[in-house]
Structures are given as C-alpha cells and as structure tokens.
C-alpha cells in the first residue's frame, strides 16, 4: 500500500485487525464457557444415571480473587481449607431432581443471605440422597462488588447460628416424635 497516497490506511487496518482479534477471543471464551457448562451437566447427569436414588448432585469449587481483594486471600489462608477446592454447597454447582424440592421445600424467601446453605442443611436433616462430586466444576470470583459484602460479619454470624439452631430443633423434633411413636406402639 502506498503510504504517501493512503497515510491513514495502516492504522485503520491495525484497528480493524484488533477488533477482529477481540471478537475472536470473545467467541472462544463463549464457546469455552458453553463447553464447560455442557461438560458439567453431562458429568452430573451421569451420576444420576449411575445412582437412581440420587436427588441432589453438587461439585467442588475453587475460588479466585481479583487484585483489589487479594489481601482477603491471604487472610483466609488456613481457614476451613480455603487454600484448596471446597465443597460447593451452592445453587450454582447443583443439579437436582424436582422431587428434592418437593421433599425439602423451597428456599426460604425470608433469608436475605445463606438461603442456599439453609436449604442444603434442611436437605441433610431430611436424609435426602446428596452426592458431592470430587471434581471442581465451578470457579468462584471474589471481587469488591460481591453481593455478600453488603452484609456485616455480625449478620453473617447471626445467620449461621440461626441455621444451626433450626437444624438442632428439626433433629430433636424427629427424635421426640420417634420416641413418642415407639412409646405409643409399646402401649398397644
């Protein structure tokens, strides 16, 4: 190309090539995400096929921190296996049968945070068949705008204690009902 006749042609071409490259990268990312999602579903569906009694399947999670919150990663070292893959008791990792919700009930709409944790605790209390796959099929990004940041530690601690209290009460109720039932059977 004659630069004397077309002095701006080369920068324009570079710009166009850059846009094409960005579009290509975006397309590759979307394809990668779609492929990963399909792989996740396929692998979890295989667990349901292998275990007909299974009602909930979840996976492990690996967290990663953006630069602005990297100090949190350091602070979390040594806490609850924060350095490695964690059990993903999150809706994002979950594949579940409709019957799980019919047996456990829906998420508690009164809870602003931790409604998924509460649901999984209720599932465990109800004896629902749940499988935690060893595979890491979710990557969780921590950044300065995570929704969970708007809660305070006091709120979080209070919520955890409420969940424990609820679980204790449910389990004690089951024991109490069982004892009452057995006592009734003993009388007849």
């Amino acid at each position: 190309m004659d630069r004397a006749r077309f002095p701006v042609a080369r920068p324009r071409m570079r710009g166009a090539m850059l846009i094409v490259a960005l579009l290509f990268l975006t397309l590759l990312t979307l394809l990668g995400v779609t492929f990963a999602a399909l792989m996740k579903l396929e692998r979890q569906a295989a667990r349901f096929a292998a275990r007909p009694e299974l009602e909930i399947c979840i996976t492990h999670v690996t967290a990663f921190w953006e630069a602005e919150v990297r100090h949190e990663q350091e602070a979390m070292r040594g806490r609850l296996r924060a350095d490695s893959a964690l059990p993903g008791y999150l809706l994002q990792t979950m594949l579940a049968r409709r019957s799980a919700f019919e047996n456990i009930g829906m998420l508690n709409p009164a809870l602003r945070f931790g409604e998924d944790t509460d649901w999984f605790i209720r599932a465990r209390d109800a004896g629902i068949a749940l499988e935690l796959m060893p595979d890491v099929l979710l990557f969780r990004r921590f950044h300065s705008s995570n929704l969970t940041r708007s809660r305070g530690n006091a709120v979080l601690k209070g919520g955890i204690l409420d969940m424990i209290q609820g679980s204790l009460e449910r389990r004690r109720r089951v024991i109490s009902d069982t004892c009452r039932q057995e006592a009734g059977e003993g009388e007849t």
Partner: protein, 147 residues
C-alpha cells in the same frame, strides 16, 4: 493453656473466631475457623452467660452454686472441667486482666433450680457447609459498589 488455669483466671469469649448465642438457657456456639459447633445445656448456658460478662472461674463457680442446688465444691470442679474443655476447643481465652469488678455473680434464687453437670456437646456435621463464606472479622471493610 488449660494448665495455667487458676480460680482467679479471667475468662473471655474468643470473639474473633467464635459466634454464640443463648436460646432458652441453652448455649449454641460455632468455631468459625474449624466449622465445629457446640451446645451446652441449661447449666452450661448459664456458665457461658457468665463468661461473656468477663467473669473469673471462681465467680462462675459461686454463681452456679448460688443459682442451682449444688455444693460450691462440686460446682467449682464442674466449672473447671468445662472451662478446660472450652479452652481446648478454642472457644474461650484467658484474659491477662482481672475479672470485671462489676461482673454480677448471678442472683441467689429462693427455689434453686435442679442441677445437672454442665456438658459441652460437639458436632462436626456442618463444617463443609460453612466453608465457603467464613466471616473474617479482621478484614478491613471494603466499599461496596454492587448489588
């Protein structure tokens, strides 16, 4: 830690790593570092409420003896054992300071309540469920910009 326990040792809840509340006299505690949680029955719940006030081992023992129909010697023995368990589980720490001077030792009740040896019950079935979002009290607050 527990070997340094004396009657005048001041007891403090490990607020950094522990969340706790007392419901109908029963204490529910969780160590957020380990994910283990605990319950303490009626007498244990009373002991916990005394620890939260910053009491010494002796103050707690006297309060238990005053509130329940139990000799001071037995109350002291049971409180010491329970406190050692709480220290071992890192639910409380010994404070270097002296006990709160104004810490109430609990009112003597006219009709003492029935006494049962306080017991710390430990559960480990939920540690994995709380692993993803442990509260981090030592972290500086971030400006929240998102929803």
């Amino acid at each position: 830690m527990s070997s340094q326990l004396h009657d005048d040792s001041c007891l403090v809840a490990n607020d950094q790593d522990v969340a706790a509340k007392v419901v109908d006299g029963e204490a529910i505690l969780i160590n957020l570092t380990s994910g283990l949680y605990y319950t303490m029955d009626k007498v244990g719940g009373f002991v916990w409420s005394m620890i939260v006030r910053g009491s010494s081992v002796e103050q707690v023992s006297e309060a238990v003896a005053a509130r329940y129909s139990v000799p001071l010697a037995q109350a002291r023995e049971d409180v010491r054992r329970l406190v050692r368990e709480l220290l071992d589980e890192k639910l409380i720490v010994l404070s270097m300071g002296s006990p709160e001077a104004a810490a109430p030792v609990g009112p003597a009740v006219e009709n003492s309540q029935p006494y049962e040896t306080p017991k710390l019950t430990r559960f480990d079935d939920m540690a994995d469920m709380f692993a993803l979002d442990p509260p981090l009290p030592e972290l500086p607050a971030l400006k929240t910009g998102g929803t």
